[in-house]
């Protein structure tokens, strides 16, 4: 893929959130609507296009984990808040090459994590689990080796302890398992078809009215062994 080859040519092994989401979108994985901007006019135009409430994020291939760096501003309701957040982010990014991502705010209480890792013995492996801030604390996750079949995707979703979160619980809609199955299979495909992809983190995948949407993404590359 061009995005991947270009990044490697530039000597980079990390794709920015925006680039990562472009790769996901190419593989039919639902991603949040977003527009990268680097000045205030573009910011306002983007905000109008996408519509409030918004999320503003610092986006750069040099930042991989934004929460730790305080570069995310959620629930931006109006132009004033947008301008303030934009200024703060631009100041914090400083010299790092990057832009500000103007992103729709996905509404949903349930967060999942989907990922990929290329293991030297097992090859590309897809991961599924409970996402958001609890991912590394609870480690409620399951793996399957790519390429996945539909059965594998369905079973790995049942394997996590919190699997009931996918049902119609507490008045929320059941998760659209068909779409989740496709996402899992396609994440595996990314690993199978692109040897330079070493790892993928999609966290969170937010269930919005049952429909999964990738609200953040990180893809790590490596030069394949020739």
């Amino acid at each position: 893929m061009e995005i991947i080859t270009n990044a490697l040519k530039e000597g980079r092994t990390v794709l920015s959130e925006h680039e990562s989401k472009e790769v996901l979108a190419y593989y039919q994985i639902p991603v949040s609507r977003e527009i990268p901007v680097d000045n205030t006019e573009a910011l306002i135009a983007a905000a109008q296009k996408i519509g409030y409430p918004l999320v503003l994020k610092g986006c750069s291939s040099e930042i991989s984990h934004k929460t730790e760096k305080g570069l995310i501003y959620l629930d931006i309701r109006n132009e004033n808040e947008a301008r303030n957040a934009f200024d703060k982010i631009t100041k914090d990014i400083g010299d790092l090459k990057g832009s500000v991502l103007v992103q729709e705010m996905i509404k949903g209480q349930r967060e999942l994590v989907i990922g990929l890792t290329r293991d030297p013995q097992f090859g590309p492996c897809v991961m599924f689990g409970l996402g958001g801030i609890f991912t590394e604390i609870l480690k409620d996750i399951s793996f399957r080796l790519a390429p996945l079949e539909k059965r594998d995707a369905l079973e790995m979703m049942q394997d996590i302890k919190a699997h009931k979160i996918l049902d119609a619980v507490r008045g929320m809609e059941p998760a659209d398992k068909e779409i989740l199955v496709d996402i899992l299979i396609n994440v595996g495909k990314i690993g199978i078809e692109n040897e330079e992809v070493k790892e993928i983190d999609i966290n969170p995948v937010i269930l919005s009215g049952g429909k999964p949407v990738a609200a953040d993404a990180l893809i790590i590359l490596e030069k394949p062994n020739v």
């Binding site: 991989s64 994590v113 890792t117 793996f143």
Partner: protein, 462 residues
Amino acid sequence: MDHLTINMRSLFNPSSVAVIGASDNMSKLGFHVMKSLTNGKFPGKIIPINPGSNKVMGIDAYPSIKDYKGEIDLAIVVLPAKLVPDIFKECVDKGVKGSVLITAGFKEIDDPSGEHLHIETANIVNDAGIPVIGPNTFGMVNLNRNLNASFTPEFSNLRKGNICLVSQSGGISHLLGFMAMGLNMGFSKIIGLGNRLNIDFDRMIDYFMSDPDTRVIMLYIEGIDDVRRFIDSARKNRGRKPIIAYKTGKGKVGNQASMSHTGSMAGRHELYRSAFDQAGILSIDNTQTLLDTAKAMSVCPLPEGPCIAVLSGQAGPSMAACDLLESEGLKIDSFTGKTQEKINELLPPLALRTNPVDMGPAWYDSAAIQGIIKAVMNDENIHGIIFLMMFASANVDALKGIRETLIQWQQKKPVISCILSPPAIWDEEIKELEENRAIVNYPTPERAAMAMVNLWKYVTIK
């Protein structure tokens, strides 16, 4: 099918076996291999190879396999590693079909010459399509053919049956073999893979899926070289015969240096577990449960659903069983009206008559107990039965009374039991019931329950 696969049939079913390094000296492994073959009553031709004697254990010996005029199907090699390449060249010339290479000193040692020997030896046998069990193994046993091609004659004490064990560790093989003797379990074959010159787990799966002597495949794994090939071979055979695997080596979790959360959480052990799930291999995490599960699978049909009846001579043990069954996702559902009526006729109201059934108050009445068992077995809601009975002097004849019913049932639905008495009181009766496939008996209610749980777990993953 490649030559190696074709020759595996002769490897396990040879008409003639040469022991290269045979000896009358008890301090040599070659002595113990000869003893295994002879004590094990191998019906075919045994050819000791030893340049220093013209007889070993009273059998005519030869200086080399070239000097023996007849065919040699299987060659068991117990000579030092550096001699092995030449020995295998002779085997190739002689037309030997398979080998058990007990010798150590190949890849597993630190000295790099070990690895060279490994590669050199592999090339010789691979070119000729000769399957080799080992090196660095205790050997292998094919009980149904009275073939004990190992250095432990006592493996032949195992009952013949339909469970095969493929193990990466000789120590574990001995452990499981001797534990199994105490559990009255029958085996078809036991294979010590050793350092896997050219036979690895994937070939074993392919072979045992087609082996009519084997119904259950038990694996002990520490690490597999070509994991994908193993998983592919299990996956393409998914659901044909149960594979149960115990893998050790939990190690550390994931690559801590990884930049992604996924990478840092993907530990080797997690990936093995996931790969087993994906291939329909039932994962077990200790030796006792591994054997318990294999035993149940070797006798019982798989349950058609998760509803289990628990029938007990005493309430307490049934609670232990029920707790475990329910915590593992099985159901202790109600009987049908018809069944419940029948039970109510046979048990006084002071007993717990719904599922789980406490048959204690009818201890004196074998006919009542038989009636309850029959009614429950035929209940369409019920997919399996756990039967528990503790000896209590007053009920010494209880088993005699229900023996017929249990034997006639012949495991139409799985019947797993925990029937316990002090030593020598009910031992013979329990043994007879087991040998007639009426029950599969365990020493504790939890082990009985866990065996049923694993039968059902396998159904859900196959």
